[in-house]
């Protein structure tokens, strides 16, 4: 297959991703960035939107993401999927990510207080406790699938705390997200009916949880949401819970898994990180987030007809930010295909860069830092014990399996 014929939205391309290029079709991305930086992609799949303008250069993604007047989030669709739990135009519940302007600011304001850097720092000790438990269990087993035993276990507990999901409910809560976040992978989601059932069950549970938080409020994000009844309606509670669940655990698991795989492939970088395992620098975490690009894209809707790279985007057209392509753009990154944990200039777009950027980014980076510190300080070696394999999807960049063997220090 030549780069010009690769469909960068074909789930099979990601399922068969090349482990030497982070599982991504980097040559095809390069072709798109260089030759057609704004092109109309036709999807030809009943589960996906019909077409979208694909934006792939890093600077263009920054610009689109920041200009919410020209590129609106509140006119339907979140990504290339036709159905998501938070798109009211397709039967979902309204959430921050499908709002703009004053309404977005008002709702984000309520939730942002549960995610500020200072608030997140107070969770550090608790996160260290979770990391220790996760590493204990992994060391007992010796050989594990990193994705499940470490990548999944840590964020589930950490995000469960931040959001306020009771311990016993966390596996099912994040399990529903896994089901609707992998609609093309039959190993996880046998049929599209499972997607609809998982979305329905999550929304029902969100309602029950809201009720619980009204009766027994805690110092968590869900309690803040239900306490803000003047600005967040009942439907918006459900939508925002679904959004927070979707953004929470899976993305961090994905970042940790791609990060671990890249460390295994680059022993010099693993050694560099081990030397700094008592206080992992932020550059390392940001580089892992860059190469992982946990979600390949998000979409917006043009609010006015305008030109971009010689193309005419009409009002109402969908504009797609291909984050995975923007994260490997040589226009802004030195040696973009290299894995460099000391990278200083790193304008990656994995969290987004505009008003809708990841609410949990401070939590996610802290979780990753603490988990890697614990893991590296308590192990003598980490070896890959089998082939890496990826989720079959064009949106979620999940790793399906990463077998490793770890030896205690």
């Amino acid at each position: 297959m030549t780069v010009t014929s690769i469909d960068v939205f074909d789930p099979a391309v990601y399922a068969a991703g090349n482990p030497n290029t982070y599982g991504l079709p980097l040559d095809a991305y390069e072709f798109i960035r260089d030759e057609k930086p704004c092109y109309l992609h036709e999807f030809h799949d009943p589960a996906l939107i019909d077409r979208a303008w694909v934006i792939s250069r890093n600077e263009d993604i920054w610009r689109v993401d920041r200009d919410s007047e020209l590129y609106a989030a509140d006119r339907g669709y979140v990504n290339a999927w036709k159905v998501t739990p938070i798109d009211p135009t397709m039967g979902g519940m309204p959430a921050m990510l499908t709002m703009d302007g004053a309404k977005h600011k008002e709702q984000r304001g309520v939730m942002a207080k549960g995610f500020t850097p200072a608030f997140v720092r107070e969770l550090e000790e608790k996160f260290r406790g979770y990391a220790a438990t996760v590493v204990d269990r992994a060391l007992e087993k010796g050989t594990i699938n990193f994705v499940q035993e470490i990548g999944h276990a840590m964020p589930m507990e950490a995000l469960g705390d931040v959001l306020g999901v009771p311990h016993e409910d966390r596996p099912k809560f994040f399990g529903w997200v896994d089901t609707f976040a992998a609609p093309f992978d039959t190993r996880i989601t046998p049929s599209f009916d499972n997607v609809m059932v998982a979305i329905g069950e999550l929304l029902v549970y969100a309602g029950d949880l809201a009720e619980l938080k009204r009766k027994h409020p805690g110092d968590d994000v869900l309690s803040r949401i239900v306490a803000a009844a003047d600005v967040i309606s009942e439907d918006e509670i459900l939508g925002n819970v679904a959004l927070l669940a979707s953004g929470a655990a899976e993305s961090t698991r994905t970042a940790l898994s791609h990060g671990m795989h890249s460390l295994l492939r680059n022993p010099d970088q693993m050694a560099w990180l081990r030397e700094r395992a008592s206080d992992i620098p932020n550059t390392a975490i940001q580089e892992i987030v860059r190469i992982a690009s946990p979600f390949t894209h998000l979409v917006r809707t043009a609010t006015a007809t305008h030109e971009l790279h010689g193309q005419t985007i009409e009002e109402g057209d969908i504009v797609l930010m291909l984050f995975t392509a923007g994260n490997f753009d040589p226009r802004v990154f030195d040696d973009p295909r290299g894995f460099d944990l000391a990278r200083e200039k790193n304008p990656h777009v994995s969290f987004g860069r505009g008003p809708h950027q990841c609410l949990g980014k401070h939590v996610a980076t802290l979780e990753m830092k603490i988990l890697l510190e614990e893991l590296l300080q308590r192990t003598r070696s980490i070896e890959q014990a089998g082939e890496v394999s990826y989720i079959r999807d064009n949106y979620s960049r999940g790793v399906f399996e990463l077998p490793i063997t770890i030896t205690a220090a």
Binding site: D65, R66, H104, K105, R108, G109, A112, K113, F115, T116, P117, A118, F119, G352, R353, G354, P355, Q357, H362
Partner: protein
């Protein structure tokens, strides 16, 4: 160097706090960023300019 913040735009993303904690803070009793020092010393210029650049809603303006 003089810092002006558009509090109508601020959404408490916290990027400025990560870039320049000497100058910006998010406090629990406020719905917008708190500027700890709106005329910071020159040695903080790089950090402040980075904070302004990273702000997702472009709410920070650095004058001279």
């Amino acid at each position: 160097m003089k810092i002006e913040v558009d509090v109508g735009a601020c959404e408490m993303h916290g990027d400025c706090v990560m870039e320049a904690p000497e100058v910006f803070d998010l406090q629990d009793d406020s719905d917008v960023v708190t500027v700890l020092n709106d005329t910071p010393p020159e040695e903080l210029r790089a950090k402040v300019e980075s904070a302004a650049r990273m702000c997702p809603v472009s709410a920070i303006l650095v004058k001279d």
